[in-house]
Amino acid sequence: MRFAEQFLFAAQSLRAARVRTLLILLAVAIGTAGVVLLVWLGESGRRYVADQFAALGTNLVIVLPGRTETKGGAPPLLGETARDLTLDDALALQRSDAVRRVAPIVAGSITVTRGNRAREATVLGSTADLLPVRRFELAAGTFLPRGDPRRAGAECVLGRTLQRELFAGAGALGEWVRLGDRRFRVTGILASTGRSLGTDLDEAVVIPVAAAQALFDTEGLFRVLIEATDRGAVPRACRDVERILRQRREGELDVTVITQEAVLATFDGILRTLTFAIAGIAAISLVVAGILIMNVMVIAVAQRRTEVGLLKALGAAPDSIRSLFLWEALLLAVVGAGAGITIAEATSRIAAAFVPALGAGTPGWAAVAAFATALAIGIAFGTAPAARAARLDPVLALARR
């Protein structure tokens, strides 16, 4: 029997059992759509995180005090950090021609008061370069003034929420607030950017780095943010940073230099693994659909015993019978998977219209993978019933009842 004829014959018998066929198609479609949609969600999440990192600048190099290394023995306990990372260290880094800007950061938490209102806030002590390095935006006023970073100026820039809560809608620019025992004048308001890598900027206050050092009575920096001149200069910037700091600390490098890209790659890897895991779970529903296909095929073979017997009597070889039933399973899988992929694509587009961060369009590889899985499952679960049909004894199948 020719392939085309087998195909038509199988299609016709599926059409004859309309309700059953539609139900199976639905099961396969839901399974496939589930896989594709979950992969799409995972991918969208990954892309969202990647975009967040990109927004911070892909040519960012971060220097942390202390060295994290894999060493034998007990993990380092408190006080392992030999030396603080100082403001002078940070400023020395500007000597490298691969470095465009350096923003030292002292971080802490303190109560900000204005009149009888008080709010707990995150303090970021830094320089004017923090604005471009972290790509912050101002809603009003000006950022920290340029000038000698060692000067403990009394300017401060408030986060959006902090400003609203302290000033209750009244103008804040030029007003004074108190941080601990020091007074600062509000020169600017940060635009609302939401959370950025764990820090809610809306509830932060930015002050000059030297002022923060005095406020928290510390020489040590929380970290130093460095913007390389361009993306390609990042490795050179890293090398320069390590060289300069090594020179400044008698040859010992007790800081950790990480790049934005390394962090991004780590997150990327984690999220990708997560996406695969979710897709794997969704694939279970495809297997369930496969079992349904097998179920239906077994029933179909039982119901069509006489037809199989007849075909054998008419001279169909066992191979032909097997192919006929395999075609049916395959058709169910292919049409179901096609429908599922279409549903997933449409759903993603509709959802993306409402939540642009999701990104329209399901990943092509997910559709291909889901389709291939559905196909494999159709063959895998169609084989046993088809073989059963091929083995059927025509005499018994045609016996009068």
Binding site: M1, R2, E5, F9, Q12, S13, R15, A16, T306, E307, G309, L310, L311, K312, A313, L314, G315, A316, A317, P318, D319, S320, P394, V395, L398, R400
Partner: protein, 232 residues
């Protein structure tokens, strides 16, 4: 054309052996018209199945058209059935979801006859059996006689040499039955070898050669000019 020597067919039912055929020797020449009668369980259906290659003898030799059937594999058996043998069943066995034309076309489909030729031959066959106007109807829209005629059209469309009919009139009323008998005999007149299993003595008497079976053995083998000639 057909030669059986010492053919046995033993079924196992539980731990009992049932001898459906015991030492059957039979030879059938090309163009014979043969009836096979006997009580239920006498082995006549089993013999028909063996003749039609649907069942294999447990022992003995079966030569069909000069070839030893025992040496053929499943594929070759299927091909022989397709090319040389037509079946007609008591309960017609038309595929309910297919139209009359599609049912009749099935053997050609299996034989990979090209579509155009297939359609042509199906049209001719339907016309020959008076079913031209029923081509696109499904079996449940046909009368019993029409169904059996469709089944005969299907059994003969690949021009077999041997036509095996198992109680072909068993499910039909008298006039439809007679009509079917006429169709079968017309095919025999055209040179087809015809073997009819029946309970109906009137039908059995029409054959030129009458076999009677009992308990798996052929107990009578009578040749005479059948009534089939007299009627026409």
């Amino acid at each position: 054309m057909i030669e059986l020597q010492g053919v046995q067919r033993v079924f196992r039912v539980g731990d009992q052996e049932v001898h459906a055929l015991r030492d059957v020797d039979l030879s059938i020449a090309r163009g014979e018209y043969l009836s096979l009668m006997g009580p239920s369980g006498s082995g006549k259906s089993t013999l028909l199945h063996v003749l039609g290659l649907l069942d294999r003898p447990t022992a003995g030799r079966y030569r069909l058209l000069g070839r030893d059937v025992g040496e053929l594999d499943d594929r070759a058996l299927a091909r022989t059935r397709r090319q040389c043998i037509g079946f007609v069943f008591q309960s017609f066995h038309l595929v309910p979801r297919l139209t009359t034309a599609q049912n009749v076309a099935l053997p050609l489909l299996l034989a990979e006859v090209p579509r155009a030729e297939r359609q042509q031959r199906v049209r001719e066959a339907l016309a020959a059996f008076g079913l031209g106007h029923r081509a696109d109807h499904r079996p449940d829209e046909l009368s019993g006689g029409q169904r059996q005629r469709a089944a005969i059209a299907r059994a003969t469309i690949s021009r077999p040499q041997l036509l095996l009919a198992d109680e072909p009139t068993g499910n039909l009323d008298r006039s439809a039955g007679q009509e079917i008998v006429r169709e079968l005999e017309r095919l025999h007149d055209d040179g087809l070898t015809l073997v009819v299993v029946t309970h109906d003595p009137d039908l059995g008497r029409r054959a030129h050669r009458r076999l009677r079976m009992d308990d798996g053995r052929i107990v009578a083998d009578v040749r005479e000019a059948g009534a089939g000639d007299a009627v026409r």
